[in-house]
Amino acid sequence: MAFNGKTVIKDLSFTVAKGEIFGLLGANGSGKTTTIRALLGLYKPTGGELLIDGKKFNPEDSKITVGYLPEERGLYRKENVIDTMMYFGELKGLENPREWSEKFLARVGLADKITEKVEKLSGGQQQKIQLGITIMNEPKLLILDEPTKGFDPMNRRLLMEIIEELHKKGTSIIMITHYMDEVERLCDRALLLKDGTARAYGTIEEIKKEFNNKSLDQIFVDIYGESYE
């Protein structure tokens, strides 16, 4: 994967098994978001293939449902909450998007904000709405880019509950995060990217073993330390 002649991802190969939680880790600028964007067809790779269930991703193929909570957060600021959620629900093919949205909003404590304009909500509240939009079609593959960024501890816990619920239902999850405690607690396997190449890849235990049973935090510092010095 290259931009303006500069290679940002090279020789990267990994798989995410059905139903697992996979951690995609790396320092800022290591190529995590670029990898995900290429997987979703938002960037065209200069070489290689990125497949979901053996096929290139097509947002309108109902057999491959993907939910993506990007790092770049945003919503239709001037619209109200329920209209925004219903719009995405319709695009994602939900039979009754209003009912689903109302239930979700009640669950995340935003039942009274249904008719509120998005721009009137706090950042955390908007993030909850984005999360709802991301998971509303119970995707087979859920990609969360820094999902807890900006969440207070209460909302972080709520998010983790939701992730675990989807995991139990068989959703495969790719999680991009800088919080190593989240990775250790949730992820089955992980990949650490540095300068567009994989520096560690396997189950959490395998990665720890490879780095003399250090904590993931310490492994992260060991791998990326040089570049920060």
Partner: protein, 395 residues
């Protein structure tokens, strides 16, 4: 039509219809344009209202009032019918008839071939020049009238087969189409730009593009904007139609209605031109919106495109006469073609085959613009600006 594109169109239409700003623009912009153009029309009428006697112009006069010396130039022996026949045959360019009762009625008649609206044609006034030259050395009653110019010249525009050319009647539908397109440009341009950059500006692109393809997203938006444009135009036209219907028995309204020439082919061609022009304009706006990241950037890029589109309006007088090279270039240059074709159609200076070629040029350009816009949007959908997003406030 793709289902998702229609869902996008529905969402965009409903959210715009709910906005008070949409309805405010619908009512206020046409009013403002009307006032500005009325003022500029009035001032342009004073640009050149003097008649010019050209040596090459072939003139004939039947003088039943005997004001001219019988030996004066241009005087013919034939009667009015004979003079009109000379105009039809192209033997003369301008024919004037001065009736025997001119001293009482103070009315002369002027006949010339004209298929177009030709509103700045001052050739009728040439008679005044000739009459004042002829009467300068005499002082009878008729000469006083002739010298002071206190008489009317009825302007009769005729076709080569001698029938009344009804230029105004023919121009009414093209004028309505032209005005509608102008309102469309004024009302919809900004919205087209905003709708395209909205996802980028608000950082929604990545999330929405996992639910719908970029192509269907942009197609849905274009459909919505075209529909909204038509809604706004309908909101202006419907009350006007009701008003015309209510006042249909008033003398002026009845006269205008009776003048309207209903030619099915002309109506179809005008509607085709309007549709192709609207899609071309949409394509250009969406293309510009797709290339940039913010509404502010889009506004600065769209200005040259809009200037090119409305450029012919600044040269309106050139479109009233036989088309010169500049007019021909404007007519077939994709961006200026819509308004050029509409102006030439209004002034009757374009033939049907030329008009059809123009419609084809605009239609092909519209298709190319839309395809380019879709491709560019697909490529730049997550080309976010470096400006910090305003969406998330600190909680």
């Amino acid at each position: 039509m793709n289902k998702n594109a229609l869902k996008v169109a529905k969402f965009e239409i409903i959210r715009q219809l709910k906005k008070p700003a949409f309805w405010a623009a619908t009512l206020l912009i046409p009013l403002m344009i009307g006032v500005i153009y009325f003022i500029s029309f009035i001032s342009s009428m004073s640009v050149d209202t003097e008649a010019h006697l050209d040596e090459n112009t072939k003139i004939a006069i039947t003088d039943d009032a005997s004001i001219f010396e019988p030996s004066a130039p241009y005087i013919i022996n034939g009667d009015k019918e004979y003079g009109i026949e000379m105009v039809k045959n192209g033997e003369v360019d301008l024919y004037y008839y001065i009736p025997a009762d001119f001293a009482e009625t103070k009315k002369a008649e002027f006949y010339h071939v004209s298929e177009g609206l030709d509103i700045f044609n001052m050739d009728g006034e040439i008679l005044k020049i000739l009459l004042s030259q002829n009467s300068a050395s005499r002082v009878d009653a008729l000469d006083v009238i002739a010298l002071t110019g206190s008489y009317e010249i009825e302007d009769h525009k005729i076709t080569t087969d001698g029938s009344d050319s009804n230029a105004i009647g023919k121009a009414i539908i093209p004028i309505l189409i032209g005005a509608t397109f102008f309102f469309f440009i004024a009302l919809c341009g900004n919205r087209f730009l905003l709708t395209v950059v909205e996802e980028k500006e608000n950082r929604i692109s990545e999330m929405i593009l996992t639910s719908i393809s970029a192509k269907h997203l942009i197609v849905g938006k274009i459909i919505a904007m075209l529909v909204l444009g038509l809604v706004q135009i309908a909101a202006i036209i419907i009350p006007v139609l009701f008003l015309v219907f209510a006042k249909r028995n008033d003398a002026i309204v009845a006269q205008i209605l009776s003048m309207i020439e209903i030619d099915p082919l002309s109506i179809i061609l005008n509607i085709l031109l309007f549709s192709a022009s609207a899609v071309l304009y949409a394509g250009v706006c969406v293309l510009v919106g797709s290339m940039v990241s913010t509404a502010r950037d889009a506004s600065s890029f769209i200005s040259p495109a809009i200037i090119f589109m409305v450029f012919p309006l600044y040269f309106m007088q050139m479109f009233m006469t036989d088309p010169n090279l500049i007019v021909q270039i404007f007519t077939y240059f994709p961006l200026s073609a819509p308004i050029s074709l509409m102006l030439r159609n209004i002034f009757g200076t374009i033939s049907t085959p030329e008009f059809c070629i123009g419609i084809v040029v605009v239609s092909v350009s519209a298709v190319v613009a839309i395809r380019l816009a879709v491709k560019t949007f697909q490529k730049n959908a997550i080309n976010f600006s470096i400006v910090k997003p305003k969406l998330f406030k600190k909680s």
